[in-house]
Amino acid sequence: MALELRDVTIAAPGAAQPLFAPIGLRIAAGEVLGVGAPSGMGKSSLIAAIAGHLPPGFTLHGQIALEGCDLRALPAERRGVGVMFQQAHLFAHLSIGDNLALALPPGVRGRAARQAAVVQALERAGLAGMAARAPASLSGGQRARVALMRALLAAPRALLLDEPFAALDPGLRAEMRGFVMAHLQAAQIPALLVSHDASDLAACARSLALRPFDSV
């Protein structure tokens, strides 16, 4: 179980040169790798490239492999790569419980089993008994916890986090960081966290910085 990137570059539509210098990395299962860079350097594009959401017009070079299998050949929905953004993006027409239930793989069969999994996820997020609540009625920190649980319930083979704490208050930030790190460790999957915040990167086992293309 490892996420591997080799000589990956991304160029914006019509741009003469890539956004950043070629990047190579290997993230083992259970490891969280931090990637830092000033804004505008293509951190989000890197996440989009791995997850399969790169907008049309962007050009991607290099190899992206998960457990030795080439991800670039697969559409986003079949890559098994979860994402978590700055905003929780909970679906507003569904309750918290249903937001979690939809993430459960269809292989978890039977209404009772699925419901039990949702209840357990809510307990682990410290949100026991809130299944019927609407996303809008939750605080920002609570929504972020639901977003993480939702991403993990889908049983991804890797998780990508794009500035996951940037929308939170500084006090909440450290608490949420601890919550996320603990759950990532427990999930035993490779995780990549991009952030422009030094303390986020310091919390990762290992971190590297995107370098500008000119520095090659």
Binding site: H53, R78, H93, A101, L102, R150, P156
Partner: protein, 553 residues
């Protein structure tokens, strides 16, 4: 500020008189006529009109056909609009194609479709070769007794409207991020759209859906061209009674108009009731977590069909308008022959154009007044219900009452009454089209101008209106298209004395001269498109002038 508040109050009263009063008067007089009392004729109030109406032969079948075509077309259009809007959402410029497609008047599209579906139309000719037909098939199209052709016509007209509304509702959202989240959870893009994103847009689609539903249940021009005739849909039955020489028949006609109103209210109530059930079913499916699969090409094929069929219908109109002899299995006519173009009464085009320009100018002035008054009073005018009312009520439910009311008040049927009636339907669309861009104006620009000592009138004339040139042109194009498409709003308040392209096209559609009908249908289709072309071209052209002057300096 006191002046601004007085102006707002004045404007509200003016709108109430201009828009609310005619609708209220029309609906009230229709209700009275249904009960047996007509202005100028008098009569005793009774329910005899209803009894007479419901005893008409085939009336039950008419009710059923109305329900089948109106509700059926709306449900099909809605079902098609969900995947199509998901396909269009990532495609820039989609809205630019949709607006002109939407601008093709119903009567023109219906006429083109009628010629396409007819036993001697292109579809039959295409089938004739492989199937070895030498005479046109005996299929009952258009005007099949089941309302199938009418449903197709309505769907083609409603889908672009629903798509435009859906895209507008999606515009402020971060759809790309929601799509990324959904797909990363393993859902195919179409399913993310249909189950996870589209339901969040639905609240914004409700009112447009109710307008669509009411329209589909009460459409006149399309039903006359494509719908069944023995018996026809309810609204066509009402129109037949209204156009009869015997004025006493207006009593059962008005009674049927109230029945139609009740039918629409019932269908809307049913719809609202069904919403909960459908939402709960949807949540049930979401909980089960089935991921769906991609159906590449399906939405693209649907879009091609949805855009292709109207284009084919219009191309057919163009061909018929210059066709010489065109014997049956031939795919192309002999010709070209311009004989029918020589028989066009060009004053009809002039009337359509003139009405469109006057009504659009009035609607635009009124919309600017409303938005500017809101700016100055710094609060919304709260005229939503007033604007929506003429769109939500069936036209036949108040236009005849309005015509007789106008007459009593000293405005006889004719161009004046038609202009006022058209304004009821044009103003809402013009206001809606202009409101978004107007409210999005950068307040910094306006504050800067005010800081330089410019008064509100100067800011309006020198800053706002020039900045809004493009949206103003676009709103005008929409207003003009809505005006050109009006059929009943010309027929009833014009009392047959005002002839426009839409009324002529509908009249000729049942006549023997298909080529002349095609000429009018084509002119009707092209007129709004010219308006849209002007809205696109004129600002560009003026901007080029300004740029040129700047470069030269």
């Amino acid at each position: 500020m006191g002046g601004a508040h007085r102006a707002v109050t004045g404007l509200r009263v003016a709108l109430l008189l201009l828009i609310g009063a005619p609708v209220g008067l029309g609906a009230g007089l229709t209700a009275l006529a249904a009960l047996g009392w007509q202005p100028g004729l008098g009569g005793d109030l009774s329910l005899a009109g209803f009894a007479q109406a419901l005893a008409l032969p085939g009336i039950g079948r008419s009710l059923w056909l109305t329900l089948l075509t109106g509700l059926g077309a709306t449900l099909i259009a809605l079902a098609l609009s969900v995947p199509l809007s998901g396909w269009l959402i990532g495609r820039a410029g989609a809205a630019r194609v949709l607006a002109p497609l939407l601008a093709v008047p119903h009567a023109a599209l219906a006429l083109g479709l009628a010629f396409l579906l007819a036993p001697s139309g292109w579809i039959a000719r295409l089938l004739a070769m492989p199937l070895g037909w030498s005479v046109p098939p005996a299929w009952p199209l258009p005007g099949d007794p089941w309302g199938g052709a009418l449903i197709v016509g309505l769907v083609l007209k409603e889908v672009p409207f629903l798509l435009l509304v859906t895209l507008a509702a999606a515009a402020p959202r971060d759809i790309a991020a929601e799509m990324a989240v959904g797909r990363s959870l393993g859902y195919a893009p179409g399913r993310v759209w249909a189950r996870l994103i589209w339901p969040q847009l639905y609240p914004a689609l409700r009112l447009p859906l109710f307008i669509t539903l009411s329209f589909a249940l009460s459409v006149v021009d399309m039903a006359l061209i494509l719908g069944p005739s023995h018996p026809p849909t309810l609204v066509v039955q009402i129109l037949r009674l209204l156009m009869a020489p015997d004025l006493a028949l207006r009593v059962p006609a008005s009674a049927l108009a109230l029945v139609l109103l009740g039918l629409i209210a019932g269908v809307v109530a049913l719809w609202i009731g069904a919403e909960r059930g459908v939402a709960s079913l949807g949540r049930h499916m979401v909980r089960a977590g089935r991921r769906g699969r991609a159906w590449p090409g399906c939405a693209a094929a649907g879009a091609a069909l949805g855009a292709g069929l109207p284009l084919l219908a219009l191309a057919g109109l163009a061909l018929w308008s210059v066709a010489g002899r065109w014997t049956f299995p031939q795919l192309w006519p002999e010709g070209p022959s311009l004989a029918r173009w020589g028989r066009v009464d060009w004053s009809v085009l002039g009337t359509t154009l003139g009405l469109g320009v006057v009504v659009t100018a009035l609607a635009l002035a009124l919309a600017v007044a409303v938005l500017e008054a809101e700016d100055r009073a710094r609060r919304p005018l709260r005229i939503g219900a007033l604007i929506v009312l003429p769109l939500l009520l069936p036209q036949i439910g108040f236009l005849q009452g309005l015509t007789s009311g106008f007459l009593v008040l000293g405005l006889p049927p004719g161009p004046g009454a038609v202009i006022w009636a058209e304004l009821l339907f044009v103003f809402p669309y013009v206001l809606l089209a202009l409101a978004g861009p107007w409210r999005a104006l950068d307040p910094a620009h306006l504050r800067a101008a005010a800081g330089l000592g410019a008064g509100p009138w100067r800011v309006l004339g020198r800053i706002k209106l020039p900045l809004l040139q493009r949206p103003l042109m676009a709103a005008a194009a929409i207003g003009f298209a809505v005006s050109a498409a009006q059929y009943l709003a010309v027929l009833l308040p014009g009392a047959g004395r005002v002839a426009v392209l839409a009324t002529e096209a509908v009249t000729l559609s049942s006549g023997a001269d298909r080529r002349l009908a095609a000429v009018y249908g084509l002119l009707l289709a092209l007129l709004p498109l010219l308006g849209f072309a002007a809205a696109l071209v004129v600002p560009d052209w003026q901007a080029r002038d300004r740029r040129g002057a700047g470069d030269g300096a």
